[in-house]
């Protein structure tokens, strides 16, 4: 835009970007006060898919809760399971065989690519380009087929157990993953040619919705939202866990703070995930996938915290235990919750189409916000 526009706050109408809307990825309601096409005020209303996972955490035993994690963020479910099992293993002192840790890292990265592919397709579709969604979903099908062969599910995986995994990977999986990596690299080049270089696309995203590092710190946003504003924060590097210190990968950081920077960060993240998968497949050790003796889960009273980097940011899980069979309190810190929160404050004065593009660049999955 070339000229500054004055917004007249007393000539506004309320537009309900309602719970049912093609652009909100899930049931999310944003009450927008608009002056023509400009947003004067926005208020996000969540809770339409609140299922109270934290209460279930108190009522279910530790193994029973394993299923709940993938229902939170269904697109990147393995990252959440990973955080949960790491926490319980840390608190109960369970040793994990190395092979299980490598397989966990490989599958989490595959899941991350699948989640980013879906985000990419949905984001470009929100902007009006309908075709890249189909290409992205086809690439994602390869990943889902691979993961289905070893875990049994396409989307809501319950693959990890306390101490390791329940099913080992076979040669078919390794071959399929090795074949997938060059194919995905070629696809990424294609996406960059088709979408990133397109001038209409660039004009839709460049300079839109700038987020300063200060506002990101105040809201605690992570993942591409923070990395697109120059904050070099990735839990896998800042607070290493599991077997990630063994891998050599970069964390893409862009400094322009706009929606295009967040888009570029996620596209670069897919490339880095491919590197991790390659190295993981090369270094995959033999051995068992579960410890020989099954220890009962006894957690000393106290509180424990574990953070992992999922596709959407830093997922934190806090366990307050009183020594019993079920947790005393289980808190799930959802990354999209903090990312979404800054939408209300930042979208003032934007055009509605820019605000919806901004929402797309935040990569929202509403069931994760509502838990």
């Amino acid at each position: 835009m070339s000229a500054p526009i004055t917004i007249r706050p007393d000539e506004t109408f309320t537009l309900n970007v309602g719970p049912q809307h093609p652009a909100t990825h899930g049931v999310l309601r944003v009450k927008m006060e608009m002056d023509g096409e400009y947003i004067v005020n926005a208020e996000t209303v969540i809770g339409y898919i609140h299922r109270m996972h934290e209460k279930m955490g108190e009522l279910k035993t530790y193994p029973q809760f394993l299923m709940n994690l993938s229902r939170m963020d269904y697109l990147g479910a393995l990252g959440y399971s990973h955080g949960h099992v790491l926490l319980i293993e840390k608190a109960a002192g369970i040793e994990v065989p190395e092979r299980a840790e490598y397989i966990r890292a490989i599958t989490v990265e595959l899941n991350r690519i699948a989640s980013h592919l879906f985000w990419f397709g949905a984001f470009v579709m929100d902007l009006g380009g309908f075709s890249p969604l189909m290409y992205a979903l086809q690439d994602r099908e390869y990943i889902l087929d691979m993961l289905e062969a070893i875990t049994g599910s396409r989307l809501t995986y319950s693959y990890y157990r306390f101490g390791g995994l329940y099913n080992d990977v076979d040669d078919d999986f390794i071959d399929a993953a090795r074949r997938f990596i060059p194919r995905m690299r070629a696809s990424l080049k294609k996406y960059h040619r088709l979408v990133t270089g397109n001038i209409i696309f660039m004009k839709r995203l460049e300079g839109i919705a700038p987020l300063t590092p200060e506002i990101i710190r105040k809201y605690g946003a992570t993942s591409a939202v923070a990395r697109g504003s120059g904050i070099n924060f990735d839990v896998r590097k800042n607070e290493p866990y599991s077997v990630y210190p063994e891998f050599d990968f970069d964390v893409p950081v862009y400094h322009e703070c706009d929606s295009l920077a967040r888009y570029m960060v996620r596209m670069a993240e897919m490339e880095q995930s491919l590197r991790i998968i390659e190295q993981g497949l090369d270094k995959l050790p033999g051995g068992p996938i579960m410890p020989e003796k099954k220890k009962p889960i006894k957690i000393a009273p106290g509180d424990y915290y574990q953070a992992v980097e999922t596709a959407r940011g830093s997922f934190g899980i806090r366990l307050v235990s009183d020594g019993g069979k079920t947790p005393y309190r289980l808190k799930l810190r959802s990354p999209t919750y903090s990312n979404m929160h800054l939408f209300d404050e930042s979208c003032r004065g934007m055009l509605i189409m820019d605000a919806l593009a901004f929402m797309g660049s935040l990569d929202l999955v509403i069931p994760e916000i509502d838990r």
């Binding site: 093609p22 096409e37 902007l127 397109n198 004009k203 509605i352």
Partner: protein, 331 residues
């Protein structure tokens, strides 16, 4: 006397039938084209290559309940789709397909087509306003400002062509380009008038027709992911069907006008066998490009759209007009 009247009536009916058939089967072509681009089959179950899909869709749309929401302005609500569809199909009457295939040729054919196109813009406004729905109003506001902004470069380009050819009669315009592609209006060398900007003029006209017909990348009026379905959110069944058909009829008219004004109408590229098949070939190539563009590019923003028209296309077409006028005067 009565024979001429009968001729006219038959010609008009055939023109309208051609438009309607095109509108119906362009949907099929668009769905197959989109599917090809997206690496999936597209409609292929109903009939060979899915060719029975449009009539079956038409039957489905007609059989659905014609739901009119309680709060709307009933008369305007029902008039709007008719107003979207009728002018588009009626303008077909003056478009010449070949030397002797035309509904009813008029000396001011071009003016008639544009007059009817402006009525289409009014239909958008009526549809959005009568729906009593904030999304629809927002989208028709966008669509009307877009329609106004893009009519202007189109008309200025048309004036340039009319100045070169000296007639507003569509048949006359085509006849003046007869004899091979070096006589077509798109090329710079024409009857001694050397105007290097005509190719860009063609692009201006092409882009403006994309915008006038609300096709992506300029489909802000129907921006599905933002405004649910834009100005036709509240329309179901046949109302929606009429809007749809009106849009495709507009596309065919846009392609026909581009062909007539710039690409020589029914003229063969090497001047050998002019005929209606060249005309049809050209308009279907243009329509295939429309479809290709729609499924490749994302949507522009509203200010990007309006900037493109007011700041780039209009100054350029005005410059072209003055340049042509100057060249005509000099040579």
């Amino acid at each position: 006397m009565s024979l001429t009247l009968l001729n006219v009536i038959i010609a008009v009916v055939i023109a309208i039938a051609f438009a309607a058939l095109n509108a119906a089967y362009l949907v099929w072509a668009e769905r197959r084209g989109a599917a090809r681009i997206q690496r999936r089959p597209g409609p292929n179950i109903n009939g060979p290559f899915g060719l029975f899909q449009p009539p079956l869709d038409g039957v489905k749309l007609m059989a659905k309940q014609l739901l009119i929401p309680g709060d709307v302005d009933k008369i305007l609500f029902m008039v709007a789709p008719v107003l979207a569809m009728a002018p588009a199909i009626t303008s077909f009457v003056t478009i010449p397909f070949s030397d002797h295939i035309v509904g009813h040729n008029m000396h001011i054919g071009i003016l008639l087509v544009f007059a009817f196109a402006s009525m289409g813009g009014m239909a958008l406004l009526l549809a959005g306003w009568s729906s009593r729905n904030k999304y629809s109003v927002m989208s028709s506001v966008r669509a009307v400002s877009q329609a106004i902004a893009y009519e202007i470069p189109m008309l200025i380009t048309v004036i340039t062509i009319v100045m070169i050819t000296g007639t507003t009669d569509l048949m006359g315009i085509v006849k003046s380009q007869a004899g091979g592609f070096w006589h077509w209006n798109i090329f710079p060398f024409k009857a001694g008038v050397f105007n290097p900007l005509m190719l860009l003029s063609f692009l201006v006209f092409f882009i403006s027709s994309l915008a006038e017909t609300n096709r992506a990348p300029f489909d802000l009026g129907e921006a599905e992911s933002e405004l649910v379905a834009g100005f036709h959110t509240e329309y179901g069944s046949m109302g929606f069907g009429l809007f749809f058909m009106g849009e495709y009829a507009n596309i065919v008219i846009g392609a026909s006008l581009t062909t007539i004004l710039f690409l020589g109408g029914w003229d063969c590229p090497f001047g050998l066998f002019p005929g209606v098949w060249w005309f049809l070939l050209k308009i279907y190539l243009l329509i295939a490009t429309f479809i290709w563009i729609r499924w490749t590019f994302p949507r522009t923003t509203i200010y990007g759209l309006l900037n493109l028209s007011w700041k780039i296309l209009i100054p350029f077409s005005l410059f072209n007009l003055l340049l042509t006028a100057g060249l005509l005067k000099v040579f």
